[in-house]
Amino acid sequence: MGEQSNKLEVRPLEPQHIAQVLGWYSMRKGTVMEWLLLDGARPVHSLVACEGETVRALLPVLRLGDPIPGERPPMWEWGQPLVAPGSDAGAARGWVETLAAAFLRGQDDPEGVVLTWNDTRDPVPFDGFERLGSWSMLQGLPTGAEDGAWVMREALPLDDAAAAFIGACAGASAWVPRRSSAYLDWRYGRAPGGGHETTGVLEGGELRALAVTGPPRWEDQPEECLGDGPSTHVPCRVLPVYEFWVAEGACRPGQALLGNLAGQARAQACELNLALPSWQPAFDLCVGMGMRVTPTSRDLYARPAALAPSGPRASQAWNSRALDLEALRCAWPWSLGDAHFSWCPFESSGPAD
């Protein structure tokens, strides 16, 4: 990469940089960061800004799904930038801008898009992003007894057949991050800490619905009152559903799967927690079984994965031409599994207590 800005150099993230970053925040587990950003089976896209051998800032970057060269525009996710503590605010801002510009300059697909989830209690740390919307979840314990008429298969392997099933459910939109078996193995099979479970519903031996859940966790949720005081958040124990895919027209298998997941959640004293765009039929299925649409404290932002012309008006006009937000919103079948940085945070993404 080799970009120079005074003594600052932008480089691809390497294993030796991780130790410095972990030291900044006394993070206890480097394994999550190494798994997300430096897994040997996936290309490295994250960048660091260094002065000499000293890391000043890290831009965490992941590509959603697997690349399909020449077929679909890439979808990137940026995590919150990590900056050496105690740095001058102006310098820190400059490092992050340099990293962002270096990444964008290095892109060769003008239709690519960068996404970032941002807590509304914090300012968006990057320029050029447009708000795609609030990030709401579906949460609750669906009603209805588990349906014994369906063959429920737990510990389903996330193999090529499962990947093909997800691909078929997701549809042919340009905005579908492809999940191959290699991606699924990395994302859920080799995630540090483990605890991901796969459940499928079979009909005549054919997979009709599939879900991947993670280990239970506490989800910080805004309270209802939106008065003048500081917004408060209450923790809620949830069983996250990272993937929830239902074959077209397979409403009853989908209901059976949700009923099974509800049983799993109930057994662990949790509510289910999943993310689906409202245009997906599975959204209505979940709501129909009593799951609530629940706002979170996060917003989702998007921008074209390319450098904009300079100047705010030029930049805005260019953004509007380069990225059709409405098409993205209505064609990207997102799931909780796509939000790598928000729901698989590094052990601590901020200064240690």
Partner: protein, 327 residues
């Protein structure tokens, strides 16, 4: 916020022509409807009309003025409605004319103009807001969630013994203070007072709304407004407005009961309301059995106050169908 627009015969003709071109079922408005939508609007109804050299309408950008309550402040905001560009223009010229009319409207009626609107918002169908985004700086503020419940289910809700309904009565003077008392718990709610409610529901020509006041003893505990109509292809009872003190579950249940009963009496099986996910009532409505679904609309807007970014409005605005021109 600017004076209300004067609807000339030329403007009316252009309006009719533009909307008839995109809506085969379009029916020209009566003068009484125009009056209600312009000079009778409590918050004003400013507009900017772009004319060519011969005085023909090229584009029109109009709004209904209203207010959002932020603590003690009453912030002037504008619901953008009835905008169009002349249908005989080519697409590029229509876009240019429309953009010029909008820019002129913004310059004369929005901040930093003195007393200007701090926010412009609207409820377009989703494809339509692309023009606003590309040329006018609009962004999606909130989802337009459709909230539905079976009228039978709503009608079965319990009504606590100390609550009673008053139907189709005058909006009482105590309403203003009742709303102001609880508004601080609502984020940034669109203003409710007797002047607004009278204009919105009592004075509108040719549209019949049913309403009730909910009383606890002699004191006001809430209200609801209902309209039975065809909407998005089905016959429904639309909850045009409802309010009670946030957290007053007895009042919420009682209002559900009244709405469900009214819908059934009108021969309608479903109640439909709308709102954003950050409304304080959003969660409790779901817990009472209201189910959420997507709609064809979204709430878009543009902030003109540098201290209130779009994301702030997006998180805190509280609205009902009364704050749209859809019902």
């Amino acid at each position: 916020m600017g004076a209300s627009v004067e609807i000339t015969s030329g403007l009316r003709a252009s309006f009719d022509q533009a909307f008839a071109a995109i809506d085969p079922g379009y029916q020209p408005r009566l003068q009484a409807e125009w009056d209600w939508r312009t000079r009778q609007v409590p918050g004003g109804a400013p507009a900017e009309t772009l004319l060519d050299r011969r005085g023909r309408v090229q584009a029109h950008y109009a709004a209904l003025g209203t207010r959002v309550l932020d603590g003690e402040q009453r912030l002037p905001v504008a619901q953008v409605v009835d905008t169009f560009a002349a249908s005989e223009l080519s697409l590029p010229r229509r876009v240019r004319a429309f953009t010029r009319a909008c820019e002129s409207f913004v310059e004369s009626t929005c901040l930093p103009a003195a007393g200007g609107f701090v926010l412009c918002y609207g409820f377009p169908v989703r494809p339509a807001w692309r023009i606003g985004r590309a040329h006018l700086g609009y962004t999606v503020l909130q989802e337009f969630w459709r909230q539905g419940i079976g009228a039978q289910d709503a009608a079965r809700s319990s009504v606590a013994g100390d609550l009673a309904f008053e139907e189709d009565c005058e909006w009482p003077a105590e309403l203003d203070a009742f709303f102001a008392q609880h508004a601080g718990e609502l984020g940034l709610p669109f203003m409710r007072d007797t002047a607004f409610l009278r204009w919105r529901f009592d004075q509108r020509p040719n549209v019949k709304y049913s309403r009730c006041l909910l009383r606890r003893g002699s004191g006001l505990a809430g209200w609801a407004v209902l309209r039975v109509t065809d909407w998005s292809g089905e016959r429904v009872a639309l909850v045009c407005d409802r309010f009670c003190a946030p957290g007053d579950q007895e009042a919420e249940l009682a209002l559900d009961q009244w709405l469900g009963t009214q819908a059934l009496a009108a021969g309608v099986t479903h109640l439909v309301a709308a709102g954003g996910e950050h409304s304080p009532e959003f969660r409790s409505a779901q817990e009472r059995g209201w189910r959420i679904a997507r709609s064809d609309y979204c709430m878009v807007g543009r902030s003109f106050d540098p201290d209130r970014p779009d994301s702030d409005w997006a998180r805190r605005l509280r609205w009902t169908l009364a704050d749209t021109d859809l019902v």
